[in-house]
């Protein structure tokens, strides 16, 4: 089975800054692979069989090391989509760029059986790219998956909803988004590390993808951040217990006051 995995490198710490246009300044922070994307990657490595796993990421040009660490884990091909014109992309602009990149990788979509993604990134937390990408590529999709199997050519998967777990079935090709921790990512092997050092990372720019400037990044994004404010409202006038005994007595009162 041939599988594409879309991943995002996210800041490992939350000390991000933004410029006046509210574009994240990603230069100064350490990047890690988004947790849910690690699950998608591991699921792909387990499902690929005699096929291949291609990783695609859109981000700054320095994503090389992180991608190489994935090649060392058994990924067959790593593609870095990078261009200044992509900065500030919202989910729609991101999905559009990814869809063009996916199409550029194979002669047609039949070359791929599955596209796996994480269900959301820990920085933006929208989870919107997988469904948007699916629509742009005209593929069926399922989000929030905790388990994937194959049964007689069909994808059989479990999807986590608020009210319970749904069991679903669909054909290929399709786009699936996975929940974090559903498949813990394997470690790299020494052999893998050696092999990865010799492998090429494919880099794609806006021009190589044939995208116009106004189709990408901030310019190609329908949504725009107009203002950023600090902490949300809800600051209360806290009373701090003088000592633990007083605190315990108050806690008992409070619990007794709740009508059950």
């Amino acid at each position: 089975m041939n599988i594409i995995v879309c991943i995002k490198l996210v800041p490992s710490v939350m000390n991000l800054t933004m410029d006046q246009e509210y574009v994240m300044q990603r230069d100064r922070v350490v990047q890690v692979i988004n947790p849910a994307d690690e699950a998608a990657l591991e699921a792909a490595l387990r499902l690929k069989g005699n096929g291949s796993v291609t990783v695609i990421t859109m981000g700054k040009p320095s994503g090389d090391d992180e991608l190489r660490s994935l090649l060392a884990r058994g990924v067959d091909r790593a593609v870095l989509i990078t261009d200044k014109a992509f900065a500030g992309a919202d989910t729609y602009a991101t999905a559009r760029t990814l869809s063009v990149a996916v199409n550029s990788l194979g002669n047609n979509l039949e070359d791929f059986d599955l596209i796996l993604c994480g269900r959301r990134a820990i920085d933006g937390e929208t989870g919107q790219v997988p469904p948007e990408l699916a629509i742009l590529l005209k593929l069926p999709f399922v989000t929030n998956i905790t388990k994937i199997n194959f049964n007689q050519g069909k994808i059989v998967c479990s999807r986590r909803l608020e009210e319970g777990i749904e069991e679903l079935e669909l054909g290929t090709p399709a786009i699936l988004s996975l929940c974090e921790y559903s498949y813990p990512l394997r470690l790299a092997t020494i052999l893998g590390l050696q092999k990865a050092r010799r492998m090429q990372i494919i880099t794609l720019s806006r021009e190589m993808l044939g995208l116009k400037k106004e189709e990408c990044g901030l310019k190609g994004s329908p949504t725009r951040v107009r203002r950023i404010t600090g902490q949300p409202q809800g600051i209360r006038n806290v009373t701090i217990a003088k000592n633990i005994d007083e605190g315990i007595a108050r806690l008992s009162e409070l619990i007794a006051e709740v009508p059950l």
């Binding site: 939350m14 947790p35 989910t91 729609y92 959301r120 920085d123 933006g124 929208t126 989870g127 919107q128 469904p131 948007e132 699916a134 742009l136 593929l139 069926p140 999709f141 989000t143 059989v156 909803l161 608020e162 009210e163 319970g164 777990i165 749904e166 069991e167 679903l168 669909l170 399709a174 929940c179 921790y181 994004s221 329908p222 949504t223 951040v225 107009r226 203002r227 950023i228 404010t229 600090g230 949300p232 809800g234 600051i235 209360r236 006038n237 806290v238 009373t239 701090i240 217990a241 633990i244 605190g247 315990i248 108050r250 806690l251 008992s252 409070l254 619990i255 006051e257 709740v258 059950l260």
Partner: protein, 321 residues
């Protein structure tokens, strides 16, 4: 047909939240002189929708058992192309957050995820507020060049619906034919998450709890006092508690009478899920933890010691009664 300032609310399964969203849409529609349309994906009494604020109700038939979000999105997108409302709102449930982006992509327009507040300008421009960067900031997002402008809204963050008894409205039944590529073969209901949304007392733990065993202890205490146990995302991420216990932006939003935050530092994505609680108690060993600012009462100290001492006194009192 040109785009109107009408607001469409796509209702998906949880009537309580759908009605709250309709009331919100109604007050926003008054600002921009639009109408409110309730588009219900499930069978429901349209009178409630009208009384909560809908001017028209579309009951879509034939979708109840459909698990193919792309197919549902196609059906909604063709309705939206015919009617061209200025604004489309969804619930930020797992399903809403799958269907809405698919609709947005079909209409080549913008979508803001998981809003915690919305404000309509006279011009019909929607200001969409959402927490971002996991911490510390609220982004105000607009979709100023394209229509419809779309948002998913976090269930539970809006005020309860207001009902106007004498409101009237039009109801249309729209049968939808779906060729589903995704089929549902089974369903296992969840255990504790529903209880959490209805609980009157919640004891929620954070990373400060330190272990699974610690969470078992919290759960035991919660059960004893007729409450429910919850967890912060950090605690779930650390593997101390299951996802179904998660309270906050990416978990469940709660509104209990009493919320006891134990060993929770108070990241914004947690606060948005619980700061509607009537009364908040923070138990934390760090007197400078952000959660204290958002609490009504705080006890500074080791959580285990505090809860054990309290529990002893609780049991003694129970014996006396």
């Amino acid at each position: 047909m040109i785009t109107s300032n009408d607001i469409w609310v796509i209702g998906d399964k949880q009537i309580k939240y759908d009605l709250a969203l309709l009331s919100k849409a109604h007050s926003m529609a008054e600002v921009c002189a639009g109408k409110v349309f309730a588009v219900m994906l499930y069978e429901t009494d349209p009178d409630y929708c009208i009384r909560a604020g809908a001017d028209e109700v579309y009951l879509l038939q034939g979708l109840e058992k459909i698990a193919d979000d792309a197919a549902i999105a196609h059906a909604l997108a063709s309705l939206l192309r015919e009617n061209r409302p200025g604004t489309v709102l969804f619930q930020a449930t797992v399903r809403g957050r799958a269907i809405a982006p698919a609709v947005a992509a079909l209409l080549s327009t913008g979508l803001t995820a998981d809003c915690i507040d919305l404000k309509m300008e006279e011009s019909g421009l929607l200001l969409q507020k959402r927490p971002a960067l996991g911490d510390s900031i609220i982004a105000e997002i607009v979709c100023d060049k394209l229509r419809p402008q779309m948002a998913t809204v976090r269930p539970g963050v809006l005020e309860d619906p207001t009902f106007q008894e004498k409101r009237t409205g039009k109801v249309s039944i729209i049968p939808i034919e779906i060729n589903a590529l995704v089929t549902k073969t089974g369903f296992m209901p969840a255990q504790s998450s529903e209880l959490l949304s209805e609980a009157k007392i919640i004891i929620a733990g954070g990373v400060g709890i330190g272990s699974r065993e610690g969470f078992e202890y919290l759960r035991e205490i919660a059960l004893q006092i007729g409450g429910c146990v919850g967890a912060s995302r950090a605690a779930v991420d650390a593997g101390y508690a299951p996802y179904t216990w998660q309270i906050g932006q990416t978990g469940i939003a709660v509104k209990p009478n009493l919320y006891i935050a134990v060993g929770i530092s108070g990241a914004v994505h947690h606060l948005v899920g619980m700061n509607a609680s009537d009364y908040i108690v923070a138990i934390n060993r760090d007197a400078k933890a952000p959660i204290l600012q958002y609490a009504d009462y705080a006890i500074v100290g080791e959580w285990r010691h505090i809860l054990e001492q309290w529990f002893l006194s609780y049991q003694e009192r129970k014996v006396c009664i």
